[in-house]
């Protein structure tokens, strides 16, 4: 029996080494469990991912901001005021005096000019947001000019709608960086990009002090910020599994969990020490119907499929609390957004339409489906209702990047996708759902309309005219028309708008979920 004794001894030793482990998070620290392995950079000129956008949003400032409750209400942040010239092509920004970066350097017009020029010159993924005003690497120094210590001018190639320009100035790519600090770390004329990928040079409420990929991001209060944050530190912990996040939250090892499944959300919400907050986000879920497929190219078929999705049932069951039914390409809250939902499951009507298209016996079609639980769940629900109308839908599962690669090459029949706006202006979605300047295979611009081979010269023109309409009401009207046309005729079955949830300990206050990821804010979050 000697070995038994040694076994028991070994077990006892091991158990003794383990202390009772249960720690509350420190009072001055907010710990957020989130899945954020999408971060590839912390340079505002490059950031375009959901999670890093949120971090940049909380650590940098931009010229313009908007009211999170009412997006159409815009105000200056770094900018104190702005004037549009008579010809509508130049905007003069006055910079607020007295702002300081976390480094202690003063924030002046020089930094703003540098930041905007830098983003255009680096020409990374989000640079097009500024580029659409006719700015290029070559001309940007001439077009954006410092005209005083606290004044600059921004010149465009056309008289764009001021709302359009200002909304673009709220995007993370327009964040103001600390010129002196960034240029200290410049190597080979890279405008400090290599350094900025993993470092911080901003003036926002929090300073990013550490990023270990797939592990954690740590932010500390920026004491130079005008309204210093109540908490000393915010730590994002990368926790890939939703159920693991739930355990951490229930134990109090994290303050906020961001990726809980509907079931987990429902069960944590019933606890006294946890609350769930949510807000509608800009992303929409849709089906893209490739017009290269001869069946899907028939207008009646496109219409029929819009009657073969049980929107209500999906929003009430598998995607409960995660989406709401929304059928226009502009998400609720955007200028000109259409919130009516004319389509519902109507099998008879769909069959009628299919018969009109000469497909009374139905047809077979494939759908490329990302293999995440939510997308797959929706796809399976759609498969069932399609079958009721005689449409045999084959689901082709694949990894996210894989299905996307196929979609971008227009090799799909149907693609089930999610699209989030790039900035808060309606043009961002109009430009992709309702514009396709060149439908040829080697086109240079490849918006969603192109990916689904929808050739729409007239609609494209209309979309392009909307950015030049300076009267906001008239502009909103154009977008309403565009949305109705796409809703009625387009190769997109737009189904839902996303809702973001955050489950948090009840002691967490003022953690704000904004309409976009970069507007989620913990600037004034506190714990009591």
């Amino acid at each position: 029996m000697k070995h038994f004794r040694s076994l028991a001894l070994a077990a006892a030793l091991f158990a003794a080494a383990v202390p009772g482990a249960k720690a509350e998070t420190p009072d001055d620290t907010l710990v957020i469990a989130w899945q954020f392995d999408d971060i590839i950079s912390l340079d505002p000129a490059e950031v375009f991912e959901f999670s890093s956008a949120e971090m940049i949003g909380n650590s940098y400032e931009r010229l313009i901001g908007y009211d999170l409750e009412n997006v159409s209400d815009m105000f200056g942040v770094v900018a104190e005021s702005w004037d549009v010239s008579e010809d509508g092509k130049t905007i003069t920004f006055k910079i607020r005096e007295g702002k300081k970066f976390a480094s202690g350097n003063d924030l002046t017009a020089e930094d703003v000019v540098f930041s905007l020029q830098r983003a255009v010159k680096l020409d990374l993924s989000p640079a097009f947001i500024l580029g659409q005003f006719g700015l290029t690497k070559e001309n940007v120094e001439e077009k954006i000019q410092q005209t005083g210590d606290y004044e600059l001018t921004f010149e465009m190639d056309q008289a764009y709608a001021p709302t359009f320009v200002l909304y673009c100035m709220t995007a993370t790519v327009a964040s103001v960086v600390d010129k002196a600090l960034v240029m200290e770390h410049e190597q080979d004329g890279d405008l400090g990009h290599e350094w900025m990928k993993t470092n911080y040079a901003g003036s926002g409420p929090y300073a990013i002090v550490n990023w270990s990929a797939n592990q954690a991001v740590v932010l500390e209060r920026n004491d130079n910020y005008s309204e210093p944050a109540p908490l000393a530190r915010v730590i994002y912990q990368h926790v890939p599994e939703g159920s693991t996040q739930r355990l951490l939250l229930e134990q109090g090892d994290v303050d906020i969990a961001r990726n809980l499944s509907p079931e987990d959300l429902a069960s944590v919400a019933s606890r006294d020490d946890i609350k769930v907050e949510s807000n509608v986000k800009g992303a929409v879920y849709y089906l893209g119907l490739n017009q290269k497929n001869e069946n899907l190219a028939k207008p009646e078929v496109r219409q029929a499929l819009k009657y073969l999705v049980d929107y209500e049932a999906i929003a009430d069951t598998i995607m409960k609390d995660r989406v709401k039914v929304h059928q226009a390409f502009l998400p609720e809250g955007f200028l000109g957004a259409v919130n009516e939902t004319p389509f519902a499951l109507d099998v008879d009507k769909a069959k009628e339409l299919l018969a009109e298209a000469g497909l009374a016996d139905g047809f077979s079609v494939t759908m490329d489906t990302r293999n995440t639980p939510d997308i797959t769940g929706m796809a399976e629900a759609i498969q069932q209702t399609f079958a009721q109308g005689g449409v045999d839908l084959e689901i082709i599962p694949g990894d996210g990047k894989q299905t996307l690669t196929k979609y971008r090459a227009r090799q799909h029949d149907i693609y089930i996708g999610r699209w989030g706006p790039d900035y808060q202006d309606p043009h961002t979605n109009a430009d992709t759902f309702a514009a396709n300047p060149d439908n040829s295979d080697d086109a240079s611009a490849k918006p969603l309309a192109w990916r689904n081979a929808w050739d729409i010269p007239e609609l494209t023109e209309k979309t392009q005219s909307a950015v030049l309409e300076s009267d906001p009401d008239a502009r909103a009207e154009i977008y309403e028309e565009l949305q109705r046309t796409v809703m009625d005729e387009g190769p997109f079955v737009i189904m839902f708008q996303e809702i973001e949830n955050a489950a948090m300990r009840t002691k967490v206050e003022n953690f704000v979920l904004g309409p976009s990821f970069d507007s989620n804010s913990f600037a004034q979050t506190s714990k009591n």
């Binding site: 076994l7 009772g20 020409d123 990047k401």
Partner: protein
């Protein structure tokens, strides 16, 4: 005397010669294996229908940005040319840069691999310390209740999905009982106290004499290591049992018993010593398995290890990271094989003669 000296000297020379040929052959084999591994991984990485440019620029980049990055990544070149460029870089010790972490792959591996090693080593240790005696016991008491229990333990460990066990363990020991700490390697409070030297939290905290961090790290690693340990215990105890049954049926065991040796001596000294030879391979294999295959455990326990790093990179077509990680694990496999070979020589005199 002189003649004897020459004779042994000559023998040693021959032995030396044959050892050096063996070493040369071995090195050649290792290089060929690793080269093959690079080639296969490289080709697989390039033929998967995922566009690697997407990982860098995302879905929203303008066409000009897309085209520029594609060229920067050398993707416009023919495949063989890309391969030789990559191979040249690897020989210079440059595994390229990971897209996802933006850091050189070498640096990433130095950060993620130790976390895996720490977990896998502890897991294998637990599996061996408990698995071998249990296996021996089951074989000796064949058909008894102990044997049945060991077999059921083995069966469950073998067939239950490891992530499910992980979640259950978390639910029980972390959430309900509060005996162990939750997912992650350390509590947030401790997370930034430690200077990274080896990147193994247990080792680093001991080296720096920070016992609070060490205790916290132990309370975090105990669950995932226990789960992995159970998994390898299942395998090791089953194999030990069958090796031991085999040995106990041999004639030398009967001889030993007839000679009047104590039963304990017969089992632990004679039978187990002979069973140990194949067992070494089993343990080495199970260790290697934990090194590369604990992705699910790493996911459930939010453990920043190499398995998850590679999987994540693969899903994002971050090929430099995948290649670098695969090579490291391949090299670890080869090293473990070599190690178990050497141990073989130690335990089994017959292999020394050849």
């Amino acid at each position: 005397m002189a003649s004897v000296d020459t004779a042994t000297g000559g023998g040693r020379g021959r032995a030396l010669l044959s050892t050096s040929t063996a070493v040369a052959r071995f090195v050649g084999m290792v290089l060929a294996t690793l080269l093959g591994l690079v080639a296969v991984t490289f080709v697989i990485g390039r033929v998967v229908p995922i566009d690697p440019v997407l990982a860098v620029v995302g879905d929203r980049a303008s066409p000009s940005v897309y085209a520029r990055v594609r060229e920067e990544m050398g993707l416009h070149l023919p495949l063989w040319q890309q391969f030789f460029i990559y191979l040249g870089d690897v020989l210079k010790g440059d595994f390229g840069r990971s897209v996802l972490t933006t850091k050189p792959v070498v640096e990433d591996i130095a950060r993620f691999f130790p976390a895996t090693i720490e977990l896998a080593t502890l897991g294998t240790l637990i599996g061996t310390i408990f698995g071998v005696p249990l296996g021996v016991l089951a074989a000796v008491k064949r058909g008894s209740l102990i044997d049945q229990v060991v077999r059921v333990i083995g069966l469950v460990g073998y067939s239950a999905p490891i992530f499910w066990l992980g979640l259950l363990a978390l639910l029980l020991f972390y959430a309900k009982l509060g005996w162990a700490a939750g997912p992650g390697r350390l509590d947030v409070v401790y997370e930034y106290q430690l200077k990274a030297v080896t990147n193994m939290v247990l080792v680093d905290s001991l080296l720096q004499g920070n016992m609070a961090v060490f205790r916290n790290a132990v309370s975090h690693i105990v669950l995932p290591a226990g789960i992995l340990g159970y998994f390898s215990l299942a395998y090791i105890s089953r194999m030990t049992r069958s090796f031991m049954l085999n040995e106990l049926a041999q004639e030398y065991v009967t001889t030993a018993r007839v000679k009047g040796l104590s039963e304990r001596r017969v089992i632990w000294r004679h039978a187990l010593r002979n069973a140990a030879v194949p067992l070494i391979t089993v343990i080495a294999l199970s260790y290697a398995n934990l090194l590369e295959g604990s992705v699910l455990t790493e996911t459930v326990f939010a453990w920043p290890g190499l398995g998850r790093y590679i999987t994540n990179s693969l899903q994002n077509a971050d090929m430099n990271a995948v290649l670098g990680g695969t090579l490291v694990i391949g090299a670890a496999f080869v090293a473990l094989n070599l190690f178990s070979d050497l141990l073989y020589r130690l335990f089994d005199p017959r292999t020394r003669k050849r």
